[in-house]
C-alpha cells in the first residue's frame, strides 16, 4: 500500500493532550497593531514527508527567534487528518510556538485569500512569517493566488530526480507567479561543497532557462535526526540542541527571517 503523507503528518505535530503554551486568543489579545503576514509557500505532495518535517521544525525555529510564526495548512484531502487532530498552538522551551492556521481553501486563490485575511488579524508578538503548505497540483496560473507564491521555499537534494523535480516546480511557479522570488534549501548532502554545487546547478538552470535568480536558503543536515525528532514530537533543536542538524536548522531559519523582515522595523517585507 502506498504510503501517504496523511499517514505520517500527525507525527510532526503535537498531540491533543499537550497543553497549549500560548492560546491563540490570548496572543491576539496582546495585539498592538496590524503586523502583516508573509507567506512562505512550500509546495508539497502527499509523499513529501521530509519537507513537512523541515517546515514544522523551521516554523518552531522562527518562533524561537522571537518572530511570530504561523504554519498555514490548507484543506486538502491529504492533510485532512492534520486539520482534525491538531491543537492551535504548540509548546516549545523558552517561548511560544508557532500557531497552526487551518484554511478551508481548496485551491491556490482561496488559500491566498485566507492568508491575506490571516495577515489582517493583528498579533502582538511581532512580525509574522507563515510557512504555508501548498499542494503542488494547486500551482497553476491564478490571479488571486499569485501573491501566495511570491516567496516559495523549495527543498532539493543532489539526486538527479530531485533536481529535475525542482526545476519543473520552478517552471510551474513562474507560470503562476511571474515575479516570484523562489529560494531553495539543499539537504541530503555530506558537505558544504556538495550543497553549494547542487544549489549552483539549480541556480544556473533557473537563470538560463527561466531568466530568474534563485535565492539560497542554506542547507539542512542529518535529515534522519530531524525526522526522528518530528516523530517524537519534539523539535530537533530541543531533542538534539547541540547537533549539526539543529545548527543547520537555526541557520536556515535565520536566513528566512533576515531575508523577509525589515531589520529597522522588524516587520515582514511586504510582497511585491
Amino acid at each position: 500500500m502506498a504510503r501517504e503523507l496523511s499517514d505520517v503528518l500527525d507525527y510532526f505535530l503535537p498531540g491533543r493532550d499537550e497543553t497549549p503554551a500560548i492560546p491563540v486568543e490570548a496572543a491576539r489579545a496582546q495585539e498592538n497593531g496590524l503586523r502583516g503576514l508573509l507567506p512562505l509557500a512550500v509546495p508539497v505532495t502527499e509523499r513529501d514527508v521530509v519537507p513537512v518535517a523541515f517546515v514544522w521544525n523551521l516554523a518552531i525555529e522562527i518562533a524561537r527567534a522571537a518572530r511570530h510564526a504561523v504554519l498555514l495548512i490548507p484543506d486538502d484531502p491529504t492533510l485532512q487528518p492534520l486539520r482534525e487532530s491538531l491543537p492551535p498552538t504548540t509548546r516549545i522551551a523558552g517561548g511560544g510556538g508557532p500557531e497552526f492556521a487551518f484554511s478551508g481553501a481548496d485551491d491556490l486563490g482561496a488559500l491566498a485569500r485566507d492568508a491575506r485575511e490571516l495577515g489582517r488579524t493583528p498579533h502582538g508578538r511581532g512580525p509574522t512569517l507563515a510557512p504555508t503548505l501548498v499542494p503542488t497540483r494547486w500551482i497553476r496560473p491564478d490571479p488571486d493566488g499569485a501573491s501566495l507564491l511570491q516567496h516559495p521555499v523549495l527543498f532539493a537534494t543532489p539526486e538527479a530526480s530531485s533536481l529535475h523535480a525542482t526545476q519543473a516546480l520552478l517552471e510551474r511557479i513562474f507560470e503562476a507567479a511571474p515575479h516570484a522570488e523562489p529560494g531553495v534549501t539543499i539537504h541530503g548532502v555530506d558537505s558544504i561543497q556538495e550543497a553549494e554545487r547542487t544549489f549552483d546547478r539549480l541556480s544556473l538552470r533557473c537563470e538560463t532557462s527561466l531568466g530568474r535568480p534563485l535565492r539560497s536558503y542554506g542547507l539542512l543536515l542529518d535529515d534522519l535526526q530531524i525526522y526522528r525528532a518530528a516523530v517524537e514530537r519534539r523539535p530537533v533543536t530541543a531533542a538534539k540542541p547541540n547537533s549539526l542538524a539543529s545548527r543547520a536548522l537555526t541557520d536556515v531559519a535565520r536566513l528566512l527571517i533576515e531575508d523577509h523582515t525589515d531589520p529597522a522595523e522588524g516587520h515582514p517585507v511586504a510582497p511585491q
Binding site: 500500500m1 502506498a2 504510503r3 499517514d7 505520517v8 509523499r47 513529501d48 514527508v49 521530509v50 537534494t157 539526486e159 538527479a160 530526480s161 530531485s162 533536481l163 529535475h164 539543499i186 541530503g188 555530506d190 558537505s191 558544504i192 561543497q193 550543497a195 553549494e196 554545487r197 544549489f199 549552483d200 546547478r201 541556480s203 544556473l204 538552470r205 538560463t208 535568480p213 534563485l214 535565492r215 539560497s216 536558503y217 542554506g218 542547507l219 543536515l221 542529518d222 535529515d223 534522519l224 535526526q225 525526522y227 547537533s243 549539526l244 545548527r247 543547520a248 541557520d251 535565520r254 536566513l255
Partner: protein, 213 residues
C-alpha cells in the same frame, strides 16, 4: 585461527548480539549490510534492519530469553509496520541501498530452534539464522549459521513468501537522465550558509542515516 577450546550455545543477551551483529551479517553465507539496529518500531524496538545484495530490506529479529515472547509474531507485525516506511527512509536518505516497492525479508536469529518454530517460520516465510557462541581462550566468539534445514537453499526465497506477500521484485526505476548541466562550481555562487566546512568533517558527526555499517 584462534584455538577453540570449547564450544557451546551460550545464553547470549540481545544487547550482546546487537553489538556484534554487523560482523555476523557481513560474514554470513549471504552477506547482509546492516543499516540500523535497535530502532523504534511498532510498539517496541526492531532489532535490526539490513539490506541484501539485491537491495531488498531484511528485517531482523533476535530471539533471546530477554527478547520478545513471540518472536515470529513480533517479526510479522514489525514487517507490516516497516514495509510502507521504506519509501520514507529513502526520502530521508536517498543513498540508502534499499529498492522501493520490495517487500522486506524477515530473518530471525536464535541459538536453537524447536520443530514447531521451524515449521511456523517456513510457513510464513521467515528465514532463520542460528547463533553459535564458542568459548575460546580469547573470549566468546559468536557465529551465525544457516540452519541445516535451509543450508542447501540459503539464497532461495520460500515459494510461499512470494505467493503471499507483495509484488514480484522489479528493477528499480532508473532516474531520468540529467540534462546538460552547467559547470559544477561558480565563482559567483549565491549559495549561503552559516555553517563551516570543518563542522561537517567532524568524525563524530552522525550521518544522514547509518551507512556502510
Amino acid at each position: 585461527m584462534r584455538p577453540i577450546v570449547a564450544g557451546r550455545v551460550a545464553q547470549l543477551r540481545r544487547a550482546e548480539i546487537l553489538e556484534c551483529l554487523e560482523g555476523l551479517l557481513g560474514a554470513s553465507p549471504e552477506p547482509l549490510r546492516l543499516i540500523v539496529r535497535d530502532v523504534q518500531g511498532l510498539g517496541g524496538p526492531i532489532d535490526a534492519v539490513a539490506c541484501d545484495a539485491t537491495g531488498t530490506p531484511v528485517l531482523i529479529g533476535i530471539a533471546t530469553p530477554d527478547g520478545a515472547a513471540d518472536p515470529l509474531g513480533s517479526l510479522l507485525a514489525q514487517r507490516a509496520w516497516l514495509a510502507p516506511r521504506i519509501r520514507d527512509w529513502l526520502q530521508l536518505n536517498p543513498q540508502l541501498p534499499f529498492r522501493p516497492d520490495v517487500r522486506p525479508r524477515m530473518l530471525l536469529l536464535a541459538g536453537q530452534w524447536e520443530a514447531a518454530t521451524l515449521a511456523a517460520a517456513a510457513e510464513i516465510g521467515v528465514e532463520l539464522g542460528r547463533l553459535r557462541a564458542l568459548e575460546t581462550v580469547e573470549g566468546t566468539v559468536v557465529g551465525l549459521e544457516t540452519p541445516p534445514e535451509r543450508a542447501s537453499s540459503a539464497t532461495e526465497r520460500p515459494p510461499l513468501e512470494r505467493a503471499s506477500f507483495g509484488p514480484e521484485r522489479t528493477p528499480p526505476e532508473a532516474p531520468p537522465p540529467e540534462p546538460a548541466t552547467p559547470p559544477l562550481a561558480r565563482p559567483d555562487s549565491g549559495f549561503r550558509t552559516g555553517l563551516r566546512a570543518e563542522d561537517l568533517d567532524s568524525p563524530s558527526r552522525p550521518r544522514s542515516a547509518p551507512r556502510g555499517r
